[in-house]
Symmetry: C2
Subunit: 344 residues, 2 copies
């Protein structure tokens, strides 16, 4: 469904030369220099400004009824209302930088009517509990990919060139850990963390349910699409589709914390070229995030102990990413500023 | 010269309660939560918006003529011209966020005439080389403190409530390392790093000159003011004064990389209460920065391999600091958003 090619390497030398001849010591802007290189390589030398779109994918999870979270599943819908009303952390950070925010219902248990600013891309009324059933059908995975793809296309047509994705779904760290376990063939105790702050009893339940699920679905865990159907969440499926769609359109994707990084790993396994379009926002407090970042050879920009989700890490990192593009296009070269060239 | 008291602890419980009751899991915004606490504690519960001022202190160094830097001393003046013309990295990042930037001549070798936006607070025509002479007189240190204090006062009267300080001065990592060595009683090889990228020959010169200087001035390295006179730079002296002045005025200071952190350590030694007003922006690539951060019990916000100076790290961290205040004042509580309180 996605045809993703690598960004052209034709301008690599030129881009690096320009970065190296800005009025600063060689490499002195650290990771911002790598980020600038990636941005200009992907977007070409015409896109002098980032035009971001933030999207939160939300859904409910069958597993959430089994005591794996600090909050009941109903909090997913309450937080979706909070997002659309403007009261959540992600709203505050988007407002601060005037980034447009969209909220997508990928499958709340109850369909909300007449909620302004809520996009309906529902794949069902929440997933089934993955330790007892397949979370969804294969057809739902494909539908989720198609829906995400058409959403991304509409934003690209409006000129958006960088996406920050977030998620909301009580229980979705359980789904994300199960997905990671299945894809990387790791037992649950290597992929499960404290989520948003559960106690050790809930933690051991989480591990047990995931190991049960890995056993139950054993015969169907051989490819990323089947794994998503068995263990996924509706929002995670759409995240994978959205990442792939953005990469296909040669746009950047800012990857948030643990759950979005699991989606990024699926995108990478489905289409390895998608990796070139990803920028990693932050290192989450979730313990397994380190393993994921390693698998994706990723060095995130922030490491400030975030574990909120919603895309907050991605949006907090976006100003740094904008700084990278800004220095590339706006900073003077040694020659322009008549500063002694200290690098040659 | 500075009378610095600790911020009031009267509202500590209230501030923490409000942070904890925002619609997010407890602690899920990581370091932004500590930062929000500090901001509200220092500024009180009326200042709902940060009003930043960025100031670069620039000066030339006698030691720069002795092969300790990648660039000749003349680059200091060239970069000051670059700052006032708007072409440097710090200009780009300030423009991006519309932070006002001021450049202060603390002692270039040649006085520049008719340069718009350049503040004259000259303490001399560059310092003397500190391995042969005292870099400056004690009177110059005091004059630098007075000048910095009156500059900060004028900004506070205009309503500025947070400062980001940067520096420019070829050779000033040598001065900063010497100052750190003298204050912490560490040999030069523990405080010297690669600066903006010198080779091993320059590095060993740097170590030798600093150890020579520590021996030469041995009798005068018993208090921070005398140490600053023996080994300081004019810009570093004014940085110390500016940090102390901002703390005295109960305003925040965002501490940039290695050189500004050395100034922060001097401010802390002169007036320990000043520490409560400091926010640490980033962990520099300069090896001794870790030791400094430890001395100051500081956990910086960014760790992205910066080693440019100019205040770039401080300005790149400022949007995160603004995010911290924004979530405190704008994010909904569980009650306001009708979200189940998951923390009680």
């Amino acid at each position: 469904m996605f045809n993703i090619s690598k960004p052209s390497a034709d301008n690599d030398l030129l881009i690096q030369h320009q970065i190296d001849h800005k009025t600063k010591p060689l490499g002195a802007l650290g990771q911002l220099e790598n980020t600038a290189f990636q941005l200009v390589k992907v977007l070409g030398r015409q896109a002098k400004k980032l035009n971001p779109q933030v999207i939160i994918f939300a859904a409910e999870h069958g597993i959430a009824d089994f005591g794996v979270s600090i909050a009941p599943s109903a909090v997913t819908q309450q937080m979706v209302m909070n997002f659309t009303a403007g009261g959540a952390a992600i709203n505050v950070f988007c407002d601060q930088h005037q980034y447009p925010l969209q909220v997508v219902d990928c499958g709340l248990r109850v369909e909300l009517n007449e909620v302004p600013n809520l996009i309906n891309q529902r794949l069902g009324n929440g997933t089934l509990p993955f330790h007892q059933h397949s979370a969804m059908s294969l057809e739902k995975v494909n539908q989720g990919f198609r829906d995400a793809k058409s959403l991304i296309h509409s934003h690209v047509q409006e000129g958006k060139n960088i996406f920050a994705f977030g998620e909301m779904g009580i229980g979705n760290t359980s789904s994300a850990s199960a997905l990671m376990s299945a894809l990387l063939k790791l037992p649950a105790d290597k992929t499960v963390g404290l989520g948003t702050g559960i106690d050790s009893e809930s933690l051991s339940k989480k591990v047990t349910y995931i190991d049960d699920a890995l056993a139950l679905h054993k015969a169907n865990l051989n490819d990323p699409i089947s794994i998503l159907a068995c263990l996924g969440g509706f929002e995670i499926v759409q995240l994978v589709g959205a990442i792939l769609a953005a990469a296909e359109q040669r746009k950047l994707v800012v990857i948030d914390g643990f759950i979005v990084s699991v989606a990024a790993l699926f995108a990478y396994q489905i289409a390895p070229n998608s990796r070139d379009y990803m920028i990693f926002a932050h290192k989450s407090q979730e313990q397994a995030h380190d393993v994921l970042l390693n698998e994706l050879s990723a060095t995130p920009l922030l490491d400030i102990g975030l574990r909120l989700g919603e895309g907050t890490g991605a949006v907090l990192a976006l100003p740094l990413i904008e700084s990278a593009l800004a220095f590339y296009y706006q900073m003077a070269s040694f020659e322009e500023a008549q500063v002694d060239n200290v690098i040659e």
